[in-house]
Amino acid sequence: MSDALSTEFIGRQKAWLRPAHLTRFALIALGLAFLSFFLFLPLAAVFAEAARRGFPAYLAALSEPDATSAIKLTLFVAAIAVPINIVTGVAAAWAVARFRFFGRNLLVSLIDLPFSVSPVIAGLIYVLLFGAQGYFGPYLRSHGIQIIFAVPGIVLATIFVTFPFVARELIPHMESLGSAEEEAALTLGASPWKMFWTVSVPNVKWSLLYGVLLCNARAMGEFGAVAVVSGKIRGMTTTMPLHVEILYNEYNGPAAFAVASLLAALSLVTLGLKTLLEWRYADSLAARRKH
């Protein structure tokens, strides 16, 4: 009996010790340790620092005029940049996925350009174009139009760095779907406009949503390009990421982390929204994927 027990125990122990299991556990442990050290811990630290001086101080930091102006500006910039990138991103992706034309490969590379160019360069491009010493600066200035160191410059820089997200998500999806359904719609007498809204867009809505959420997260969080064109005028041209830096440099750690936690919360809401939609519409998502 004791023999049986011990063999069973040894057998179980052997299962534990099987190299495949060991590797699996080691990899899971490594992955978790890495995630908690590089993702969860810093994120938790942001919220912990923000909460350190209590809730009233937290609210005060967020309702201070420069902070509310930074929050408004961030949302305002995202509200312009994201819709523009949806329209242009869908158009570019559709053109690339459905048609073969001269310069198509060039267009695909150009869509990726903002990913490969450093954000600082992206900002400097606009300073070079619209700055007082730039190509169009003197003309714009004489007509009273301020682009750099004002809101339009921030919007431009944000559109530039967030442009690829929508198109990049859509192109592979549209290409894998093929044009059969669209052609069927046209043959059955749908107008191109109707085909676009009832076939093309619903077919790729999940990739579109992905692209939009990523685009939005980046639009609100962009620092480098915006820092170059902003001029850091408090209460006017500071977005939330810039405001966080300014507060930190003024030894106002708790307020800096309060704004940072709000920024992080916005991204977490974005992420949560994505997960929720994925979960609620898992069936239709799976059905789509089968195509």
């Binding site: 007082a132 619903p202 939609l277």
Partner: protein
Amino acid sequence: MSSPLGALFGRKFATRWLIGLSAVSILAGSQISLAQSLLNVSYDPTRELYREINTAFTAQWTQKTGQALTIKQSHGGSGAQARAIIDGIDADVATLALAGDIDAIAERTTLLPKTWKTRLPENSAPYTSTIVFLVRKGNPKGIKDWGDLARPGVSVITPNPKTSGGARWNYLAAWAWAQNAYKDDKQVRAFIAALLGNVPVLDTGARGSTTTFAQRGLGDVLISWENEAFLVFDEFGKDNFEIVAPSLSILAEPSVALLDGNVDRKGTRAAAQAYLEFLYTPKAQAIIAKNHYRPRYPEHANPADIAILPKLSFVTVDRDFGGWTKAHKDHFADGGSFDQLYKPSR
């Protein structure tokens, strides 16, 4: 189209969305273009000073003229801020760390005349400051004077003179001390090279260096604006740091100037001019001393604020370095002494 998500992409929703968006943009647009407002583009450590000055001035201006006035601030490394003004930031006044940076604006643009320095009293510098050392409590490395900063094993924090005005004052103060101590140019250069060799990181602005030293705990000594050193006391307590006054330092004259080209376009000349003149009034001079700058007219300041500033002997840029144009060319321009002596690969 029956699913809620389908509605998200429906035509009706898109139209509604567009209407909502344009309403948002009109709302935000109207908020951004507020009436009378000045923009003061300044250097890094003046944040606390101008916050107080602006409150005092706007109250006085509204009382005198009945006009509401807001003053917006932008802060950064002095050289970088001058660059932003050259590139077209809509500043009414420049309040930078050194005359050289305002000279650069006058050279590259038509925003203000090259003679700007003579338009306000005291070389257009309503306050001065100087360079001191901030060390950790008890001065564990025994730092007394500039010579100690070049000793092996001493870690020195100072910003990058290419981008920071404060760093240029630091550099010239060290240079002046070495010239006094060694007389021989070769020894002066060897001293500066050894000092720079002790610098682990060059931040772009004075505030970045202060954060590196005080908050991140790097380095044994911070070469710092005097006002910035006192600010560290206020923020982090006197229990952790000590100020060391070197035997020789430099009289730093942070300059202020009206940007004629911008104020005339915006129609803000009267308010901007009054703002700069306000800096010379007794009220402003007292605020200046309270923020640990050296007021031009110390008789208006609280005597306690003056008493805590260490007594120092000074060199000046105009007398000892032949003015900012020459100092810039000799030391900070491409190929100047800084480029020759700084070896970051070490």
